[in-house]
């Protein structure tokens, strides 16, 4: 077995290397199922990060991942839907994505997989975005139901506000987001 190459921080200067045009748009804004997910990334002092990068990966609206290891051919792939998004935070620490709610992959509730990269993070962080209108599925989800701390569990569920879904990310402190050891 070979030892893995170590992780190093993405640093403060990735903006000309990693973001790309349309990276935050997984579907067209006119898609009848389009949802906008917005959030801000905060540090332990409550200050926003203007040098973070958020990546998301998700199944399509039927719950199928575009990947060779998801061979459930009864759930068709959608033309043009990859399921990956990438968005740098702006000067106010904000990111946003336009996407669709993925279908459930039982026994897990519908969710979007998230990676957080930033200056000061020597390894990226994993978390998940779950949906507020999926109370029954969320209650049966293996990850969510394993969390006894209600406030910690709540950090994984987006909140509806003014027609968008809010998902703020707190890297540290009492309000810290639930991060995952993947």
């Amino acid at each position: 077995m070979l030892g893995s190459t170590p992780s190093q921080t993405v640093g403060p200067f990735f903006a000309f290397g990693l973001p790309y045009e349309g990276g935050e748009r997984l579907v067209e804004p006119g898609d009848p199922d389009a949802v906008r997910i917005e959030g801000t990334v905060f540090d332990g002092a409550g200050d926003p990060l203007d040098d973070a990068l958020i990546e998301i990966w998700q199944a399509n609206r039927l719950g199928r991942y575009r990947h060779p290891e998801d061979d459930r051919d009864d759930l068709p792939l959608e033309d043009g839907f990859i399921g990956f998004g990438r968005c740098p935070t702006d000067a106010q620490g904000r990111f946003s994505f336009v996407t669709v709610k993925p279908g459930a992959v039982a026994p897990e509730a519908p969710h979007i997989n998230v990676i957080v990269l930033a200056r000061g993070l020597l390894r990226h962080l994993f978390t998940r975005i779950y949906f507020p209108d999926e109370a029954d599925a969320n209650a049966a989800d293996p990850l969510l139901s394993s969390l006894d701390d209600e406030a910690l569990r709540a950090t994984l569920i987006a909140r509806p506000r003014d027609g968008v879904l809010r998902f703020d990310i707190h890297l540290q402190g009492e309000r810290q987001t639930a991060f995952l050891d993947v």
């Binding site: 077995m1 070979l2 030892g3 893995s4 190459t5 170590p6 992780s7 190093q8 921080t9 993405v10 403060p12 200067f13 990735f14 000309f16 290397g17 990693l18 540090d43 332990g44 002092a45 200050d47 990060l49 040098d51 990966w57 991942y65 575009r66 990947h67 060779p68 290891e69 998801d70 990859i82 399921g83 990956f84 992959v105 026994p107 897990e108 969710h111 997989n113 990676i115 990269l117 930033a118 000061g120 993070l121 020597l122 390894r123 990226h124 962080l125 994993f126 998940r128 293996p142 990850l143 394993s146 910690l152 890297l171 540290q172 810290q176 639930a178 991060f179 995952l180 050891d181 993947v182």
Partner: protein, 234 residues
């Protein structure tokens, strides 16, 4: 869903701790609550698989993206992307970015008083071939000062970003150059506590890769997490 074969956990000491006080930016950004161990499901063993649609013909040659040639020492950086069992990771996206030969990034936040080079942006991408091999032509990046502590300088490095085959194998790292005198003073390089793991971030000068009268060659293999042998029970 039936059980899936997840990815193995890396040996302790392979990756830096989030909380690394010598690197000041970790102080308010390192999580202070324990991470929640997540058994791998389809969400983690899948990930973005790229086609060729985003590749431009000059994406892997950072010396030909402008009208003129950039200043600095032209180099070839190549290597294989392997999984933890030594198998090539094929058709994998490799993205890089770096500063110029004077140690300056094309980024408005970089205030290092070194010249920008109008012929160098410093970003590239390519896909690995059937042997897992990537190859870039670029110029050797310079060292540069940063504000972490008094007289702090980053050793020359190229940033690398990879997904491999799954969301779980995502890796962002930095490739360093052999024999750099700044290694021992750099808290980011030293954040990897296992010295054998640190060595794996250093490229190797390679004469056969070097092209006569044209460019020095460096080899750097990248190893992503290996796979569990047997599917886990759901």
């Amino acid at each position: 869903m039936t059980g899936v074969a997840g990815y193995r956990r890396d040996e302790p000491g392979t990756h830096p701790a989030y909380d690394t006080p010598e690197y000041g930016s970790t102080r308010l950004r390192a999580p202070d609550r324990p991470l929640i161990v997540l058994p791998h499901s389809l969400s983690e063993i899948t990930g973005p698989v790229y086609g060729h649609e985003r590749m431009g013909p000059l994406d892997d040659d950072l010396t030909r993206q402008h009208e003129g040639e950039p200043l600095g020492e032209r180099i070839i950086v190549t290597g294989r992307v392997l999984d933890g069992d030594g198998r090539p990771v094929r058709n994998a996206l490799v993205e890089i970015w770096q500063c110029n030969a004077a140690g300056r990034y094309v980024h408005q936040v970089d205030q290092h008083p070194a010249p920008l080079d109008p012929n160098f942006s410093g970003a590239g991408r390519c896909l690995t071939d059937d042997d897992g091999r990537y190859r870039f032509i670029t110029i050797k990046p310079g060292a540069y000062p940063w504000g972490n502590h008094e007289n702090a300088w980053r050793p020359a490095h190229i940033h690398f970003s990879l997904f491999g085959t799954a969301f779980a194998t995502r890796l962002v790292s930095q490739m360093y150059f052999p024999g750099d005198p700044l290694f021992e003073y750099d808290p980011i390089f030293q954040s990897v506590r296992d010295p054998r793991a640190r060595e794996r971030m250093i490229a190797r000068f390679d004469l056969p890769t070097t092209e006569p009268e044209w460019a020095l060659g460096y080899q750097w293999d990248i190893v992503l997490r290996g796979r569990e042998a047997t599917p886990m029970e759901p």
